[in-house]
Symmetry: C2
């Protein structure tokens, strides 16, 4: 069953180059506009891309998750990570275990760019969040993050990894969200700039390949 | 292995409706332009289309072959099938068996819209050909058609079927030919107007389906 789709690898470069060509990074586009390989969104869930040997299918959630995960880990290393001031501070009233999770992780969250203030009786006011692009809204997933940390259900080599992983998973673009062509371009470019583009933070594939020869075989032309 | 891709059927209607929606046949397009399901050409060989349950992959050659085959069979029934006058008549010098094949099939070829005149010493001048759209150039495949008929290699229930089959196979759009979006639209609409859209003239699939649940399984999300 696995053999039906090749693991990414030799083809990733081709995909990346296609994405660069489309965005004009490498200069002029070939003359025949309609022939340029594109990025296509399928069911608002997968991004399809023509590669040198066939078709790559990218799970948009897994891809964004991987991008956010690595960006959050990198943010821990920064002097002052990019933060986004919220126009209207959000307040959260927490359960006892979530409050405990916040107290335990307040320092690490601050290092990511979260600016939080206790606001009486297990309530927090959130004033700023890590800024990792227009599609990432950590203020929406903040209570889920605390739940995940309170549950201890997030695996990770360290608390840094656990926070990055939980926040990436909760905050990433979901299946069913339509993306503009430029957003797909950006997502693919960012994905291929990560250390491990082929896998999401849970170790599941972020990309599968469907080779032309597999398609030809399905058409009884193999 | 077959189970990986569902046979077309329940989903064909969805595909057809998508195609109609795109071409505006059914009226207004939904407001969100980027969400409209599209038709995408992969490696200038396959047409990809979003369907209700996943992705349909259409072999452009098989699809055009099926369309031409049924149109040619229908042309035999017409009083005066659509013919295209050639601006510059083409001449062909034939081998003995091809010449024989022409003599045997001259009546049927004429009924399709071929207008041929002997031009001395096993040479034919071709003045008009069946007119089945801008992508069909029977004058190019005419000598191959006579070869196929001379070889007796083309199966078919009758000589009508054999001629339609050989001419469709030789004259259909090939793999590697880029298509404009309107051409893909037209090809899909025409395919779904045939009696047997799911199969080419050799009984091979013209369409395969890749279901969302199959993709999800490949991403270990099934």
């Amino acid at each position: 069953e696995r053999g039906r789709y090749a693991a990414p690898g030799e083809d990733q470069l081709a995909l990346f180059l296609n994405a660069r060509r489309r965005t004009g990074v490498d200069g002029a586009q070939p003359g025949t506009g309609t022939r340029a390989p594109g990025l296509w969104q399928l069911h608002d869930t997968f991004i399809l891309a023509q590669t040198g040997t066939g078709l790559a299918v990218i799970d948009q959630h897994s891809a964004h998750e991987r991008i956010l995960y690595e960006a959050l880990l990198a943010a821990f290393e920064l002097e002052s990570p990019a933060a986004q001031e919220l126009v209207f501070p959000r307040t959260y009233t927490l359960g006892p275990s979530e409050w405990l999770a916040w107290e335990e992780n307040a320092g690490l969250l601050a290092r990511l760019g979260f600016r939080l203030e206790p606001f009486g009786d297990r309530t927090l006011a959130l004033h700023a969040v890590p800024d990792l692009g227009p599609r990432f809204h950590p203020e929406d997933s903040f209570p889920q993050l605390l739940q995940d940390l309170a549950n201890g259900a997030v695996p990770g080599a360290s608390q840094h990894h656990r926070i990055a992983s939980a926040l990436a998973c909760r905050g990433a673009i979901k299946a069913g969200q339509p993306l503009a062509p430029e957003e797909m371009d950006r997502l693919c470019s960012d994905l291929f700039a990560t250390d491990l583009p082929a896998a999401d933070v849970h170790g599941r594939p972020a990309i599968i390949q469907i080779r032309l020869e597999d398609l030809a075989r399905r058409f009884d032309r193999g």
